[in-house]
Symmetry: C2
């Protein structure tokens, strides 16, 4: 496994491998890796000959009052995990390498971010789309894998790839959960033991929403009320609970063919997200 | 010479040629070709083994009251000129191929468009940057050539290429002029014979500005006044006259090391632009 820290060296490596007929896959991450990231690596191996994992805590996707500075980092542990996982290249650029003085270009996907996290985190998906496009240009993958926990992010990236004619296959990998159902997230490390225990309320609320739909409930407001009760009973502060069309992320009032549920909630200071297909 | 009309076929061609070790060059155009475009093809041949010319009148770089509908088009003539020029591929996508239903992603270079044409044509450079990025992704060139007549455009594209880590060399080709000095432009076809004759006022104003700097004038306002007189004496309606830093496009008050002049002016209904290095 090789660590590459500059865009130029990364491009040179990737373009040579591609012209040798090798299929290059990319897993973009912000590091502090967990089993969710490693499952993306495993998923990608079925689609690529060579796996690149990028580690870059992207400042421009954090708002001014968000947790960029305290976002967890552990380079040595990440490298050991990726070595063990059989990754070929770790791309770890510095902030100065990615955003040198004079940087002034952003990519904006316009409709999909006007929902869910995009409404609560202005500029977040602009920062995500911009860094992912830069990582795509640097690593030149034919295929890239993203985790389904960041449901809206995957939809935004799919739209960007389609709209900008990037010849990259986007793979979505299922949410990896702890035994008690909590979705894996680097931010789980911020939870106190008590918050960690209560944090299962997100997945429990989603499961109850899904069960209601299976029992024939069609009113989104009725489902959201039950989900809110479950979250609040565990002391979570709800940021949003949304029952949405899985493709355009528009809120549904009536559940007909297809529906997806997404939650953002604070456990103490830590904002957690989770989502689940309810129907279709 | 082959005409390709879909992004997928264009990408397949370009990626194969690159992996054969051929160097692919691109000249993006909006068609209605003139000697300026053909000089870009010639310039590019020194840097590329294979030349792709794209022809696409890009709707998203025209404002609602601009001339998208009446922008001149002549596909048969363009193809004959490119055949004669020894071009390998003409990429001619339809609007529906470039902007299918649901399209919602744009690229925005932020500082450079806050000057000159960018101030008068809101969204213009957003449309330019977006289509050029899409053409880069479709044609996968190692090198691309742009005409210096669109001075601000070249600077915007250079910034985008640098900021988004595109491994593409940007070549700028000198302005090609008629014998009397008028910069070649597809829009010159809109000029009446009388307007055409008077339209040399743009280059005359620039030449006089340059002569003043050579004689030691350092005041941008003094130069702009003389240039305005030349334009108005020919019946041109000035949109802007700017003496700028050649790199960041900021207006200068005092001319010291390096200075560039840019003009936009209407001859009748037709908006013309031209520019010239004054110093440095």
């Amino acid at each position: 496994m090789k660590v590459i820290r500059t865009v130029a060296a990364m491009q040179e490596w990737a373009l040579h491998r591609r012209c040798e007929g090798r299929r290059v896959g990319l897993v973009p991450t912000m590091g502090f890796l967990h089993q969710g990231h490693l499952s993306l690596v495993e998923t990608l191996k079925a689609h690529a000959d060579l796996v690149v994992v990028s580690i870059f805590v992207n400042p421009i996707q954090f708002g001014p009052n968000e947790d960029f500075d305290r976002y967890p980092r552990d380079e040595a542990r990440d490298l050991a995990l990726l070595q063990e996982a059989g990754v070929d290249i770790v791309f770890m650029p510095s902030v100065a390498e990615m955003y040198p003085a004079g940087f002034q270009t952003h990519v904006e996907v316009e409709k999909l971010p006007q929902h869910l996290c995009g409404l609560r985190r202005p500029g977040h998906f602009r920062g995500v789309a911009t860094v992912v496009l830069k990582l795509f240009h640097a690593c030149v993958p034919q295929v890239a894998a993203f985790g389904a926990k960041d449901y809206q992010q995957v939809q935004v990236i799919r739209a960007m790839v389609r709209d900008l004619n990037l010849p990259i296959l986007i793979i979505e990998s299922d949410i990896v959960r702890e035994e008690d159902g909590l979705a894996l997230s680097s931010r789980n490390t911020f939870l106190t033991p008590e918050e960690r225990q209560k944090a299962t309320c997100l997945v429990r609320a989603l499961q109850e929403g899904k069960a209601m739909v299976e029992r024939g409930e069609t009113s989104a407001v009725a489902i959201r009320h039950v989900m809110a009760d479950i979250l609040e009973d565990s002391g979570a502060r709800v940021d949003y609970i949304a029952i949405i069309d899985p493709d355009d992320l528009e809120e549904l009032e009536l559940i007909r063919e297809r529906a997806h549920a997404a939650i953002a909630a604070y456990m103490g200071r830590t904002r957690l997200i989770d989502n689940m297909r309810l129907k279709g």
